[in-house]
């Protein structure tokens, strides 16, 4: 097993799927000769050529729309939107068509496409390059939303996403791309879409997070254990939609307390749905209000202030302590 960054792991997932299945085609801006602005497709143009690693003109609606046509034909397009903040130009193609084609055709036509996009802050980027708005897609019936938290699960989930018969939005935390390395097996590895993972078991409260927020959440859990002798059960959602309610409810039924952490704005964000479901399914077990630790209801500020916007371990731990003490 090689130690890989998330960029390398994603690159391996794409390469291996392309080697196995010539229906897998990549398209997007600068993914070819340039290898992608984050290098996720590095080397694939050289290996598979311009027919399968397709540099596109500068138009997101067309990138998504062309992927839909390819997918209906029977290919498995994986398109890259250079930054998730520019996916909205293709919003109507995703909502009007990618999410509906199977339904509209009564099962005749399928759209097995993946839309990859880097999301989130923390890399000192310019405006529109640091957004987290995964809730838009999660609220769109017909789409699935996957957000990995590290190299190994990113690779396994991307393979699963490519093989999934339905359209998948695959958000990659920029801050994770090169943040750390993990052992990633050369052999095929997949992960089930729609299943969360308990990454740390505990008894006193449940901490729920995903993507780039998992690590600060784990740091907060460590802090609680060390300073307060409190053990937190930490859940990594991995898939935001469909949501793995079962695992969340099972954990909270044990701990009676929950903190949800995400980088996206708080209001009408993913945390609200998670909190609502826990409240619905575990109401009589809950011992304290569920805490949401999230980005503020603001546009993420330019990078000199972004660290104060993005939840950090201290903010998360403080919220956990509030839950524990109420």
């Amino acid at each position: 097993m090689a130690k890989m960054t998330m960029v390398e792991a994603l690159n391996m997932a794409l390469r291996q799927e392309m080697q196995q299945d010539d229906a897998v085609i990549l398209l997007g801006q600068d993914i070819g000769r340039d290898g992608g602005v984050f290098r996720v497709t590095d080397g694939l143009f050289a290996e598979f050529g311009e027919e399968r690693v397709v540099d596109t003109p500068l138009a997101e609606s067309a990138i998504v729309g062309m992927s839909i046509g390819m997918a209906v034909y029977g290919l498995k397009p994986v398109c890259e939107i250079q930054f998730s903040g520019f996916a909205y130009q293709g919003f109507h193609q995703l909502e009007n068509h990618a999410a509906r084609m199977r339904w509209r055709s009564q099962g005749r036509l399928h759209v097995p496409m993946v839309m990859r996009a880097p999301y989130g802050g923390g890399v000192r980027a310019l405006e529109h390059h640091s957004e987290s708005r995964e809730a838009y897609w999660a609220h769109t019936p017909g789409l699935k939303v996957i957000i990995p938290s590290g190299p190994r699960n990113a690779r396994a989930l991307l393979v699963s996403a490519i093989r999934d018969p339905d359209p998948v939005i695959f958000y990659e935390g920029k801050a994770l791309y090169r943040a750390f390395r993990e052992e990633v097996p050369e052999e095929e590895e997949t992960l089930p879409i729609g299943k969360a993972q308990m990454v740390r078991s505990g008894d006193d409260l449940t901490m729920i997070s995903y993507g780039a927020m998992l690590r600060p959440t784990l740091e907060a859990a460590d802090d609680l254990r060390q300073k307060d002798g409190v053990t937190a059960e930490v859940i990594d959602l991995l898939t935001l939609s469909p949501l793995d309610t079962q695992l969340l409810v099972a954990s909270v039924s044990k701990t009676g307390r929950a903190v949800i952490v995400h980088e996206a704005p708080r209001s009408f964000g993913a945390g609200a749905e998670i909190a609502a479901r826990l409240m619905e399914e575990a109401f009589f077990i809950l011992e304290a209000p569920i805490e949401r630790v999230t980005g503020f209801d603001l546009i993420i500020p330019y990078f000199s202030r972004e660290k104060s916007y993005i939840p950090g371990p201290a903010r998360i731990a403080a919220a956990a302590r509030r839950t524990l003490n109420s």
Partner: protein, 371 residues
């Protein structure tokens, strides 16, 4: 060094073979076999009569809102007649005649306009896309289909339809640009029927023709008399041949007219004059074609009246079959089918909740709501 301005007034000639007075340009007259002539005429006739019948049904509350196609039969039939079965059609919402020619059943159309999702089912052996309501959004799907057909080394061609109003959407621009860059085998057919609901072409764009928009993409463009099926078919056949031969995409503008209201919910009197409509009625593509077929002895007047009867019967029985199906279609629980290959847990729970509701009789308030 030096200077020269582009002349923005550049226009395109109209390709016309059989004009509204029945004059024929023998040199350009395409050699079309009688079978195809018959097939095209029949499809135009079905398209016309079915459209008229649907209007009655809508007025009687037997179907919902729909967009009539009267007057645009030649633009549709002449174009798709150039396709092979294995080719693809990516229609918008006003290609009823084209869809029928391609094999869509009249029942499915009636079911669709009566609010049944079952009305969009496309026969398995058919390559076409379901109609697309968001204006011009289907254009880009055609490019993707064409890219895939080329990638798979087939000689399949994709034809997509849109209206004059559709040329204003960003998707029109992005789609044609992608098609030209990748030289995908796509024929872009604009049914320029002069109106986008209440907006006339002159307030939709300042370009003198729609065909000239092809210049922006380094793509051939041609404008034809859309009520002249010979001209439409010739231009479409050339564009399809170019695409099939690896020559890339073409923009085909069919100049026609929306004789009826935009949809049955629309009242054209609010925004256009009757004279204009009358002038265009005189250019009726069906009558023009019929005259040609008779003069050429391809169809006898006797055969024509037989066809009228056949088509009447065909439509009547389709309506019967559709209304028969509506008695058992439309079960509420079916709405959970086909969103995903597999129903996620949360949706399964929602489906069960609806099932319980229906059993408990609460569902009574729900259920199909015809009429």
């Amino acid at each position: 060094m030096g200077r020269k301005y582009l002349d923005p007034e550049i226009g395109v000639e109209l390709l016309s073979i059989l004009d509204e007075y029945g004059n024929l340009d023998a040199e350009l007259e395409p050699q079309i076999g009688n079978d195809l002539h018959l097939k095209m005429y029949r499809a135009m006739l079905v398209g016309r009569r079915f459209d008229e019948r649907m209007l009655d049904l809508q007025r009687q509350g037997r179907i919902g809102t729909f967009p009539p196609i009267k007057g645009q039969e030649a633009a549709q039939i002449g174009s798709v007649a150039a396709l092979r079965d294995r080719d693809w059609l990516a229609p918008s919402f006003r290609e009823t005649a084209a869809e029928i020619m391609r094999g869509r059943s009249l029942e499915s159309i009636l079911l669709y306009y009566n609010g049944y999702n079952e009305g969009t089912i496309i026969p398995d052996n058919q390559h076409d896309m379901p109609m697309s309501v968001p204006v011009s959004s289907q254009i880009i799907h055609a490019v993707g289909l064409g890219f895939a057909a080329k990638y798979r080394r087939t000689d399949e061609v994709v034809m997509t339809f849109f209206g004059d109003g559709g040329t204003s959407e960003g998707d029109f621009h992005e789609g044609l640009n992608f098609a030209a860059v990748y030289q995908t085998p796509v024929v872009f057919v604009c049914q320029n029927n002069q109106w986008a609901i209440s907006i006339p072409l002159a307030r939709q764009t300042r370009s003198r023709t729609i065909a000239q928009k092809a210049l922006a993409y380094g793509m051939p463009g041609i404008q034809v008399d859309g009520n002249d099926i010979l001209a439409v078919h010739l231009a479409a056949a050339e564009a399809v041949a170019r695409a099939r031969g690896g020559g890339g995409p073409t923009l085909l503008e069919c100049v026609t007219y929306r004789i009826m209201m935009h949809t049955t919910a629309d009242d054209p009197k609010k925004y256009r004059s009757e004279e204009d409509v009358e002038r265009w009625k005189a250019r009726d593509p069906l009558i023009r074609y019929r005259k040609y077929l008779v003069e050429k002895n391809i169809l006898t007047t006797h055969r024509l009246s037989e066809l009228d009867e056949e088509v009447e019967k065909e439509i009547r029985s389709a309506i019967d079959r559709a209304e028969e199906q509506m008695r058992y279609l439309g079960q509420p629980l079916d709405m959970f089918d086909h969103l995903y290959a597999e129903l996620p847990a949360e949706l399964r729970a929602q489906k069960e909740a609806l099932a319980r509701e229906l059993d408990s009789g609460i569902g009574a308030k729900g259920g199909a709501n015809h009429g």
